[in-house]
């Protein structure tokens, strides 16, 4: 029971770290290879604010998220969208370049040493019905749930969401009906970066962050998003819980050295059975 609960809570953290990738994937149709670095930048930004201002890392993750969101807006507006217009495949390469650049900046500013966010609850444990639960993972799961439902509501129940969906479905048509597609796309990356910053702060609270750690988290997020279904925000949550659970069960009963084999085996199996992922409808012809 303890393994299952801890696996699901680990999945909750994975949801927080994968949500930004899912949003970009689902709306901009873009594989954001800089997503892992956005997580790391979020963690480091929060760490800087904690050192500079003092205070709770979770509270300071909010301004860190705003800062990263503001920084991401012009990246999409003036770099990625113009690249996308010229060549639909090019943004993937561009985000790879952004990933390398961000990693290099982190290394130059903070060296290769890891950073950890500390708070009394970061290493605290609660006993719930006889099961030891790590408080930081409980918090991460709660925040992930809030972010998933918040983003889902934003994209499905607001005028902004309507504009995003219209622009994602057909940018040219959306432009003709007066939607500022470039601004909308930039807002989406800003939102995804802000969400990633929160995810980065949460992972640095439970574990640690390092300039070169982005790739590992990108791969986990990518697995979550593909299993959950491309572009499905709710699918991201379910995919994350599944990945966390399977990984923790595999670590416990087979050995941590085989957990990646099991998780990626699951990914391949799901791609074979349901290539569109668990929560995305198959494309109509």
């Amino acid at each position: 029971m303890e393994v299952i609960v801890n696996g699901l809570l680990t999945g909750g953290l994975y949801a927080a770290t994968a949500l930004g990738l899912s949003v970009v994937f689902g709306t901009l149709r873009m594989v954001n290879l800089a997503h892992g670095e956005l997580l790391m930048v979020g963690a480091y930004l929060t760490s800087v604010l904690v050192v500079a201002l003092g205070g709770d890392p979770l509270l300071l993750a909010i301004p860190a998220a705003l800062i990263l969101g503001l920084l991401a807006y012009p990246l999409q507006r003036f770099v990625l969208t113009p690249v996308m217009v010229r060549n639909a495949d090019a943004p993937v390469t561009a985000t790879f370049g952004v990933s390398i650049a961000l990693q290099s900046i982190l290394l130059l500013v903070f060296t290769s040493n890891p950073r950890s966010l500390n708070a009394p609850y970061a290493t605290a444990q609660l006993e719930v019905l006889g099961v030891g639960v790590r408080v930081s993972l409980l918090i991460a799961t709660a925040i992930a749930l809030a972010m998933v439902f918040g983003v889902h509501l934003l994209l499905t129940r607001t005028r902004f969401g309507s504009r995003v969906r219209a622009a994602a479905n057909d940018a040219d048509a959306a432009g003709l009906v007066g939607i500022d597609v470039k601004h909308t796309f930039a807002m989406v990356l800003g939102l995804a970066a802000a969400v990633a910053a929160m995810g980065g702060a949460l992972l640095a609270l439970s574990y640690s962050a390092s300039p070169s750690g982005g790739m590992t988290w990108l791969v986990t997020a990518f697995t979550v998003v593909v299993i959950g279904g491309l572009g499905s925000v709710r699918g991201t949550l379910v995919g994350a819980l599944l990945v966390g659970l399977v990984q923790t069960l595999a670590s416990r009963f087979i050995g941590a050295q085989y957990s990646d084999v099991v998780v990626f085996g699951l990914l391949i199996a799901i791609l074979l059975i349901r290539p569109e992922g668990l929560f995305t409808k198959a494309r109509r012809a």
Partner: protein, 412 residues
């Protein structure tokens, strides 16, 4: 502007796979100097000045530069009766093995390096050693455990040399240190799947009974593992009072956080590799306070120039720690190479290589004499994190030095 989702997924998968293969692009400049007779002598080095091994690279660079600067300040290196300036040509390999290998070749073929100074760790030193052997130019390396390095050449190295501790001796030190404390002699092993993790994990396992210890729990995990919840629970359930872990620094913090969350406070926690990061207790918000790590330098080892290196670099490097040891080792191997060039009396690579084989003497890292296998073993000691310093607790003779603080303070 739209991509079909299946195309998108294929593109994504291919690009993520490419991401594993590719690495950092930063690189340093290179001089275009040569070592023509009478001109400056070029010594090349490809170092991890960025990337995950940056700490080793920057400390080695400090040591190399110190040795070269001293020679140049004294008027140059005496080669065959004439004083010649030495140019140190350093390039940044961004902790990437392929880049290190190609840079080593370029340093010799394009920049005219007559000899090379190595990067750190087997993952970088082995490819650079292969390049040196192929180019037939001598290379001296350090911060690379000997057995792993020797395993990089099936025929034995010809132009590459390595000065560091031997894994076999190093993996004794954890048990020798544990013998200094009263424990139930149950050990939990946490080793990652990097080459050194596999090698040392095997050695700790096989040696446990020899030292009277029992491996009560053993976990292996991929590098980058963050979720240690089930492993720590099992280690705690096993009742192990000694934890020996071989992990990279971020994974070490994740492990310590999980141990603290589960109130698992072993009497001794050896955090190898991760614990050799300067300022690790601070980086881990105090969790690493009281953890132990094998080391190659500490105050009280009785090494030549120990105090002068401490007074010159300790404050700059945040304490007496492994980074300072890496400076000492970098300085020492650079001095060895300069001595070899001087005693060879020429910049001919074969003459320098022969002179390296004959090195026998004391350097700041200790006594050096190479064997037929091109290695010279130093002695690993054990240190414990106390504030900013790694304090010597097991000396070069395998005996007690300073008292060990137990149980692990950072986990209490």
């Amino acid at each position: 502007m739209k991509l079909p989702k299946n195309r998108l997924m294929v593109a994504a998968a291919l690009t993520v796979a490419a991401g594993f293969v590719l690495s950092g692009c930063a690189s340093g400049g290179s001089g275009a100097s040569t070592s023509a007779s009478g001109g400056p002598i070029v010594i090349g080095s490809t170092l991890p000045l960025t990337g995950s091994l940056q700490a080793f690279g920057t400390s080695l660079q400090t040591g190399y530069r110190k040795a070269v600067d001293e020679v140049n300040a004294a008027g140059g290196l005496d080669v065959g009766g004439s004083k010649r300036q030495v140019t140190l040509d350093i390039q940044d390999n961004a902790s990437d093995a392929d880049k290190a290998s190609s840079q080593a070749r370029n340093l010799v073929l394009s920049d005219g390096a007559v000899a090379l100074l190595g990067p750190a760790t087997p993952q970088l030193t082995i490819p650079v050693s292969i390049a040196a052997d192929q180019a037939q130019v001598p290379l001296i390396s350090t911060i690379t455990p000997l057995e792993a390095w020797k395993g990089g050449s099936s025929d034995g190295w010809k132009y590459a040399w390595d000065v560091f501790f031997d894994e076999d001796q190093m993996t004794d030190t954890q048990y020798q240190t544990a013998d200094l404390v009263s424990t139930n002699k149950k050990v939990a092993l946490f080793t990652d799947q990097e080459e050194d993790g596999v090698v040392m994990g095997g050695l700790w396992s096989s040696k446990a009974s020899e030292f009277g210890y029992d491996i009560a729990y053993q976990a292996q995990f991929p590098v980058g593992n963050a979720n240690f919840s089930s492993q720590v629970a099992e280690a705690k359930a096993s009742g192990a009072e000694v934890v020996i872990a071989q992990v990279i620094p971020p994974d070490g913090i994740a492990l310590l956080k999980e141990m603290k969350a589960q109130s698992y406070v072993p009497k001794l926690v050896f955090l190898e590799k991760a614990g050799n990061t300067g300022g690790y207790p601070k980086l881990s918000d105090g969790l690493a306070e009281g953890t132990l790590a094998a080391n190659w330098f500490a105050k009280g080892m009785g090494l030549p120039d120990e105090d002068s290196f401490i007074s010159e670099y300790a404050s700059q490097l945040g304490g007496v720690n492994s980074d300072l040891g890496t400076v000492v080792y970098g300085y020492s191997i650079a001095k060895m190479l300069l001595d070899a060039i001087s005693s060879a009396g020429s910049t001919d690579p074969d003459a320098i290589n022969d002179a390296i084989a004959k090195i026998s003497g004391d350097y700041p890292l200790g006594s050096v004499a190479f064997g037929d296998d091109h290695t010279s073993a130093t002695v690993a000691v054990q240190t414990q994190w106390v504030g900013e310093d790694q304090v010597l607790v097991l000396d070069t003779q395998g005996k007690a030095a300073n008292p060990i603080v137990t149980p692990t303070a950072g986990l209490q």
